[in-house]
Symmetry: C2
């Protein structure tokens, strides 16, 4: 699949700067934050919550953007489409993704709300709780989808979170149609169980008719099918997607493609510090393997290695050179 | 010394957001960056260097601000004076220092250059190389020095870097005079050997006539006296300051106060990751001990513990609760 196209993976998603701080469980309770989930908040709530947040660090984020950063760190050719404002945080987002060699040319908004930020509270158990103010990111529109870029990418990878801002949903559909029109693959991550809950009917339609490669964690795939256990959801998804990669945290992952089913062990690399980005980096490793023509079992293993790197430090973008890590671990 | 005043330590310095990335030594050479030093750069150079910088994280910084963050993390009552612009990075700086309980009320600039940023390149040997665009920080002026705040602080701690922006120099002198007028202590860090070189005559005048507590690392104190070795510099500084705390990286530190001389061992806490902030956090530990009436030997030990925490992670602000660390290590 590699070689003839300009990009291995094009990511389309919310363009977000993460604001990351440690927090106690009591803080989550006091502020009524849904632990482990991604909750959308408005500008006022973002401001009042930030005022109560501890000392933080800022790091570029966004689910699909993290995945593309991972693909680039693995040596893949990545592109990204997402909307920032022409402000300082937007400049940071643009700098960081371009610094990895990713093509990112979406025009920043010249007015309207500021660049999106996600307040991330990391509790002592390394779980992350996300509160997202979408800001300029919600302005992503069909006009931002450059069909030449979509046509040039072996895989177009879309995040379920795009289903939250209304215009982005149309951008999503335009991109998926363009990808298929060019004979390329469409990949989707379900993003978050509450996101699935908000858009279940749409996601079912996508998964059953438009998605070639599906990424979901256990809570998300259970939510999609309102299934009682993992195996039930697994059997439900099997007939639909060409490939589904279902991640299960410390249980590893299951990769299914028709009759082919692989149960992949997790990879351990020391203490778990912050789970932010684990799913995003799993997708990076998997897609990089896929675009390099690796077998599905090897793709899953590469996903596990990258996810393990992501949870070994604070922040969602890879810190260790992923290409070396995969070469060492995956052989 | 503690108790009767509202603040233990007031820091006055440049209000800076750090932009931190890993870099190879070859990158420093290619871009002619003076390794280990702090170099002032203009807006154009900041932009072109940032464009060549790798993926980064942002974290509030500034030498004296880091020290005050450390004092607050130790349970001390801190205040800070420094100038940001009313932009997103300025908001981040304000949030982070206030989140620690530090009083920070300097009015942000409503126009002029943006909030200061320091591009920090961390090489594989954990050394940091800093390129600072002072921006709004250079606008700190005597009018920003609130004499009531200075009067309310047991120690006013000033960074030598303030000698670079011309108006800040006058602010520095106003603050020192107000502190002494209120019967409080004036502390100074020499900041950087090149900074000492730029302002040697002024720093000699300050050290020999106006500073009660001096902080300097080996390169700085050698530069101040153009001395050939550490002992020569030590003997030169002894008669002047009430207290001098001279840090020597892996050799520990020497604390001198008239006839009293203590040679303090360094503290080791695992691998050295990033030396950014080591001196700033040493000063935090030392000053916290001093304002709590600890003996100089204990103050030096607290400085070593805090410096060891600072070099164990990326970034200059403390990550581990320092109060617990000091309680455990210093007994």
């Amino acid at each position: 699949m590699a070689g003839e196209r300009r990009f291995d993976v094009l990511g389309i998603g919310n363009a977000i700067v993460d604001v990351i701080a440690h927090a106690e469980d009591a803080f989550l309770a006091e502020n009524r934050l849904a632990k482990g989930a991604m909750t959308l908040i408005d500008a006022g709530r973002a401001e009042s919550l930030y005022a109560r947040m501890g000392q933080a660090i800022e790091s570029s984020g966004g689910s699909a953007a993290n995945t593309i950063a991972g693909v680039a760190a693995l040596g893949g050719r990545g592109a990204f489409i997402g909307k920032v404002r022409d402000d300082q945080l937007g400049g940071i987002f643009r700098h960081d993704i371009r610094a990895l060699g990713v093509a990112f040319d979406t025009a920043p908004a010249a007015d309207g709300p500021p660049t999106a930020r996600c307040l991330i509270f990391v509790t002592p158990d390394a779980q992350r709780t996300m509160q997202t103010f979408l800001g300029a990111s919600a302005g992503l529109a069909p006009a931002d989808i450059d069909e030449a870029t979509v046509g040039a990418a072996a895989v177009t990878y879309l995040e379920g979170y795009l289903w939250d801002p209304p215009a982005a949903k149309r951008a999503f559909e335009k991109a998926a149609a363009a990808a298929h029109g060019a004979g390329n693959l469409v990949a989707l991550t379900l993003s978050d169980p509450f996101c699935v809950d908000r858009h279940r009917a749409d996601f079912l339609r996508l998964v059953e008719g438009h998605v070639d490669v599906l990424f979901a964690n256990e809570a998300e795939i259970l939510s999609l099918y309102r299934a009682d256990d993992f195996d039930e959801a697994l059997q439900r998804v099997r007939p639909h997607c060409r490939i589904a990669a279902l991640t299960r945290s410390e249980k590893g992952s299951v990769v299914v493609a028709g009759d082919e089913v692989h149960v992949i062990d997790p990879v351990r690399v020391g203490p778990v510090v912050d789970t932010t980005g684990a799913g995003d980096l799993y997708a990076a490793g998997f897609l990089h393997g896929l675009t390099r023509g690796r077998e599905l079992r090897a793709c899953g293993r590469m996903g596990s290695i990258c996810a393990a790197e992501a949870i070994s430090h604070v922040g969602a973008r890879p810190e260790t050179p992923l290409a070396e890590l995969v070469a060492r671990e995956a052989g």
